[in-house]
Symmetry: C2
Subunit: 857 residues, 2 copies
């Protein structure tokens, strides 16, 4: 049998894959000479074997566990007490903790105080001179063991247990429950307890919330968890003991200072679970200055070693500091940026490493983060808690996670209000705009998870009292479904809806994004349809406009009727007449956009949607239009019905429309070139407009339209006697275009993948219609993500590869980009970086995310 | 300059590509020692050069033409007469005829009698002792020349010319017309006439009808025509002269006999144009027995040389036989088969060559070819003409091609009734069910073209008189738009509509198709949804059913309401209740089909269309259903509106439906397996049902459904305690499936390409919606054919290749087929044969076409 069990001292050369994050940290710390309670690790390979061979494997594993245990007992001069043990040694107590290669905080199980039974309890009580402590850890152990190894949850059993007075009665009751549930007698033997605990941790790898967490965080299901078995140290022994959680830097502000909380005379779980509100770590400096200094020293050593902000758990047992865990600390989006920049400036990390420390999604959340000043002044302050995770959130009050999820799925924005949160609340938190808790500090479950999610959170709002379907604060009763607004930056809670202002970036973030730009793998452009959006996009750092959808302009009230006039026209002549009127508007639009884009590229797509989208539907509208245009209702209805399509997505749109009505393309090209010339002249700029043709599926389509574009453009150029260059490109958005890409590439200067349509056609389902059945797909794990949000690399991606390969082979200078929804999605950009493309073009507000996505490794 | 002009005697080693079909035949015949009027050929390369360089090229070409002409004059001891020529030689007259590599009968231009002018006319009149002949050919020449070289059509000028009495006046008028049209004086110089004639023939390559003909016959536009310049021989010299067209076998019946027509004392164009109704060739045997024998001998020589039935033009000049042209003869579909079989039996061609002699499209037309006997008895006989092209056709009378085309496009069936047809009528003929002509024989334009098209035709129905918008026959007036029925096998014409019976194949054709099956490259299965269709498909030679669409069964009146009950069900329980009722019907359907398919494979596709297709739309229907089902109208409307989709083609259908409602798949699988077991037991057959899942785009979809299918099937098998095998397959019809094909192939036994949907998704347009704009595409030559009729090898075909390669790589035993519309299209099958597929599955009536398509090279 291979080796599956390693003492910390034996594991120095083993990988995190094998030891899990927690075990790896302990081994590192141990080898650095930090004071770590000794222990051993059952590797992730053991977990995998367990899932292959089950309980049989565990009994084979026992030999290795016993061997490691023997060494541990020798090392600590303590030992596990069997029931009939007569020795008087100090009893050994162990913890068994989960720990995968990738951190999944709180998702899997832990059992503390393994080794307690009537014999060891007796010895412990004798040693301590009181049975109080022994009874306390005995009860804790039993509760955890029943929860992990028998699935009897704390909340189920707590009330029942509380009915009994004596410890013996309580223990007796719990053992009875165990036997009823499991059909085995409760194991008094501490070795049995350990084996079962290890198995219990293995099993917790596949509990529901762990599976869900892996799914949302894209963690593979087959990497398994290690089990760290470690000597217990006790923070609840006396007033010289305590336990705490602290970060090497401030996880909210990013400031360089030890930040955390501790509880005197308590066990670690009390802090993490948020059951007691702890003191800030500065209190430790007052209570035990030497221990505090030692801890700060440890924090520095660890941060320097790992070159990242550390999240550490520690316990003080009778004045002696033990570090129980260290890991890279979760932090608020803002702190992520701040810490990365500081570490870079301190010379601890490279630019690329600093960039990799911030997830693109975090950047997104830094945008909408404040309440509008004016609106705030009128707002009614309900309470003030701890500013646990920054941001501003508005939503309806809900009191449980299930309801939060349900309402969110129905499109309702909610704020989750809880006494405290636990791992069961993960989905509910993800579904909420923000989280408000009554108990718990800055490192409570709610705070840590919310920061990780980039969600706004106010914790420890103790003046609130929750009563089933309402809460009361400062005398005001807030019911389920009422609106509140919470500010995770100040900790304030307001009644009703407060306006959120779309704040701009702070200078730190701008600096960080500039570093990102230096390391970009692909350029980031933006989609914008009007001068205001263009300016917004440029201010967000877009290098130009990759997609201007001209159809949006036709919907504006001053021109929609000319558009309708054009559509209702029965012959080319009257169509051209209507188009001439639209021309004036288009030209004005384009001039505004050319001004706003300040000489950066501007890619204008010719008319794309089917014409019936521009026609009115209701009787009332039709009669209005009839009056406005002086055309009979009958004619309008006739045109409308002649344009009706069974599947408009696959109908008369895009280049197909322009082929049927080349005069539309002519008008648009004329407007583009004339406006580019005028703005060039005025500003003495050298504008090179880019004209993009949608929905091309055959080279003859683009040849046909290119001829029209070139003739029209050159006419305008000659008439104005002003030399201007322009580019012609095409969307690649129907699968066939990928196979024609070499031929098409010879005709154009650029490709822009319209990944929305390409996804629709490749999957054969439309974005609108698929949402109905995709929920069945998620439920049955057929798809794990929405292919309209994150690019499908296997299908759509393959088509992209074909198109890029063929396109580049035929036209070396071809510029290639992506302008679908996916262009602003970090996961998708990750994939795009593996392709040979030049740019992505996303909505203005996603530009910063895309900039960072483009730069991270 | 390269050599572009070759005497017949110089051209023996040149290809048909260069000489054109007509020239090639003349060169061959000339070298075989047959009596061919001497001449030379201007090659197709010259035509291409002309289209590159225009008139300049012609002037360069003159040197070579003059050189060839000199040799020709030496050879014939005749010469072209310039105006002032004083010699007394017999004048040389030439013809200039078109001839491309691929025959395009009547599409391009010909000029006869080049060389006639006042001088040569005078000499000729002197030699003949009368000016009648000279005047005749002079007038003919002028008309043709004006038509070809000045675009002054015969019909335009004929009436005007007839106003003049004397030849000089007529010629004068025509020269005036020429000058007005062309702004050049009419060329009296015969050399000029020749150059212009050659140029005229080149130009006729791109006249409208030639372009159209190439388009419908898939002939490339860039191969060009050769010009054959040949010494004129005259069939209109005297009673010992004549001209004719004859086939080496009967082109209607295929019988081995010389078959044709001739006219005494006439020029060839008279026969071809159908202006005069000629005598059968048997008359030649009586008139000139020696010439007849010589001709029959020639026909045999030529047929043996070319190993195919020949279509020959001949002229007898003063008792001497000249062969003017030979080519592979067009024949009726039935004759195609008969001749191919006879040539095979005569040992002249191999089986494969015999198969290649029949086009798959011809087989199609052999199916609907007779009038129903009973209906015939009651029919009123209007007239009887020549049985020019077999078949039975019913339609409304139209008198011009344009109207025929227009009505056909509007979905109206028409019979084109003309005095005679000409090349301008091609489109109109193609748009008609059948053609009826007053004049013209079995080899008239109408007859030849109709046979080529496989259209029914009755020609030479001389008792009919057409008067603009009606015709009269046997005292009955038939108006435009009235129905008539024509029988191309008997020559009968009936008043009104006679029922057409779908006749079965004759034994010849069955024998021929059996030979085809021996040489098949892919198997032919059929699509059928009920026992009757299954039997029909098997009788047509299908090797099984490749696609049974189960949804058609649910639309029948006795079950549609249970289907609706199922759809309206709000929970799984009531859905299952409704499905249980449908189960009984499904099982009965499947039992009938398993009986009908007699142990051959039967592939059943699970439910495919979106559920809303089954719901009623009109208020009236809704209230009826509401009563029938005892469900409120509101509920029906609610369900209906919840099922509405923006793009149903890309909505909740196919496997997506089955994933949402697995109970539908369960019911269907249960019905399939139970019925297969019962029919197996009853007949002692070993039925292996094939279950096909539509619209798969991801391996997890098929895994999910496969599990349900296997569990359900095995349950039924165990319950019945009867061992039965079954196969599971999937449609490949969304582009993504192609890229997933390796993974999918591991889960299934077979793939069936649904090329209809695959075409829709690949092009990004739906079959229904695209017809509106595809006409603009055809007009602008962006697409040359409908991708829903003939497979798009460049796009859809590439996806198929990817799917096949990946599928085969993962599953060696994978069976692969095609079951879209394309499965019955000869052009598409040609492409499918280049892929590694096992079968096509088409509608029963297309099975014979597919069988032959699968076999031809």
């Amino acid at each position: 049998m291979s080796k599956f069990v390693y003492l910390f001292s034996e594991a120095q050369n083993l990988s995190k894959d094998l030891l899990g994050g927690k075990g790896f940290g302990l081994v590192q710390m141990s080898s650095m000479g930090l004071n770590v309670p000794p222990g051993f690790i059952v590797t992730t390979n053991a977990c995998k074997e367990y899932y292959l061979h089950g309980i049989e494997f565990i009994s084979e594993l026992k030999v290795q566990i016993l061997e490691a245990l023997k060494k541990l007992e020798d090392l600590t001069h303590k030992h596990l007490y069997k029931l009939e043990d007569k020795s008087k040694n100090f009893p050994l107590f162990l913890s068994a903790r989960s720990g995968a290669k990738i951190s999944m905080p709180g998702m899997m199980d832990t059992i503390l105080n393994i080794g307690i039974n009537s014999t060891s309890s007796k010895i412990l009580s004798e040693k301590m001179g009181t049975s109080e402590f022994a009874d306390n850890i005995h009860l804790r152990f039993m509760k955890m063991f029943l929860d992990v190894c028998a699935g009897i949850s704390n909340s189920d059993s707590s009330n029942a247990i509380d009915r009994y007075d004596s410890l013996d009665e309580k223990l007796g009751y719990m053992k009875k429950c165990y036997k009823e549930k499991i059909s085995h007698v409760f194991p008094e033997d501490p070795y049995e307890q350990l084996y079962l605990a290890i198995e219990g941790v293995f099993k917790s790898w596949n509990n529901e919330r762990a599976i869900y967490y892996r799914k949302v965080n894209n963690i593979p299901d087959d990497i398994g968890t290690a089990v760290t078995v470690q000597t217990m140290v006790f923070g609840n022994l006396d007033k010289n003991s305590g336990t705490g959680v602290a970060f090497s830097r401030n996880p909210v502000s990013g400031k360089k200072e030890v930040f955390g909380e501790y509880l005197i005379n308590a066990q670690g779980e009390d802090v993490v679970a948020g059951i007691k509100t702890p003191s800030p770590i500065s209190q430790l400096k007052i209570d035990m200055p030497n221990v505090y200094d030692e801890f700060v020293n440890c924090a520095n050593i660890l941060e320097n070693y790992f070159n990242d902000m550390q999240d550490m758990e520690f316990t003080i047992e009778k004045g002696k500091l033990y570090i129980l865990q260290t890991r890279s600390g979760k932090r608020s989006p803002y702190a992520s940026v701040k810490i990365a920049l500081d570490l870079l400036n301190e010379g601890k990390v490279s630019e690329q490493s600093a960039l990799n420390m911030v997830s693109p999604k975090q950047i997104q959340s830094l945008l909408h983060s404040g309440f509008d000043e004016k609106s705030l002044k009128e707002a009614k302050l309900l309470s003030r808690g701890l500013p646990a995770s920054p941001g501003a959130a508005v939503g309806k009050v809900v009191f449980d996670s299930e309801t939060a999820k349900k309402m969110h799925d129905d499109g309702i924005k909610v704020i989750l209000v809880r006494n405290e949160t636990s791992a069961e609340d993960i989905e509910g938190m993800a579904s909420s705009e923000g989280i408000l808790t009554v108990h718990g500090g800055m490192t409570s479950h709610a705070a840590v998870v919310a920061r990780g999610m980039g969600k706004c959170c106010v914790s420890g709002c103790e003046e609130i009292t929750i009563d089933e379907n309402s809460f009361v604060s400062r005398g005001i009763k807030v019911n389920f479904g009422d609106f509140i607004s919470i500010d995770g930056t100040s900790g304030n809670v307001y009644l009703g809806k407060v306006d959120v202002s779309s704040s701009s970036f702070s200078s730190d973030i701008l600096e960080f994004l500039k570093i990102a730009d230096k390391h970009k793998k692909i350029s980031v452009m933006s989609n914008a349809d009007n001068p205001k959006s263009v300016s917004q996009a440029i201010s967000m750092g877009a290098l130009g406009i990759g997609l201007c959808r001209t159809e949006h302009m036709f919907f504006e009230s001053d021109r929609i009727n000319f558009m309708r006039e054009m559509i209702i026209s029965r012959d080319k002549e009257s169509r051209i007449k209507a188009l001439d009127k639209l021309f004036q508007f288009q030209k004005k639009d384009f001039m505004g956009m050319f001004e706003a884009v300040k000489g950066l590229p501007l890619t204008i797509r010719l008319l794309d949607p089917p014409l019936h989208e521009f026609l009115p539907e209701s009787d009332q509208e039709i009669s209005k239009i009839s009056l406005d245009l002086g055309v009979s209702e009958r004619v309008i209805r006739e045109v409308s019905s002649s344009l009706k399509e069974f599947n408009p997505m696959m109908g008369h749109r895009g280049c197909r429309l322009l082929i049927s009505y080349p005069e539309i393309a002519e008008m648009q090209v004329r407007a583009i070139i004339e406006s580019a010339i005028e703005v060039s002249k005025k500003n003495n700029w050298n504008i090179i407009p880019e004209i993009m043709v949608p929905l091309i599926g055959d080279v003859k389509e683009i040849r046909f339209l290119k001829k029209i574009i070139v003739e029209t453009a050159n006419n305008v150029i000659n008439k104005n006697n002003f030399e201007i260059n322009y580019k012609i490109g095409t969307m690649i958005e129907v699968p066939r275009a990928a196979f024609m890409a070499d031929k098409i590439a010879k005709e154009v200067d650029f490709f822009s993948f319209g990944t929305n349509d390409l996804t629709q056609m490749t999957f054969g389902f439309s974005r609108d219609d698929s949402q109905k059945f995709l929920k069945d797909y998620y439920e049955n794990k057929i798809y794990l993500f929405d292919p309209f949000s994150t690019i499908d690399s296997q299908g759509v991606g393959e088509l992209m590869k074909i198109a890029i390969k063929l396109g580049r082979s035929a036209n070396k200078g071809l510029k290639i980009g992506v302008c679908g929804e996916h262009a602003g999605d970090p996961e998708s950009i990750k994939f795009f970086k593996t392709l040979d493309i030049d740019y992505v073009s996303c909505s203005p507000f996603r530009v910063p995310v895309a900039r960072l996505s483009s730069a991270v490794d």
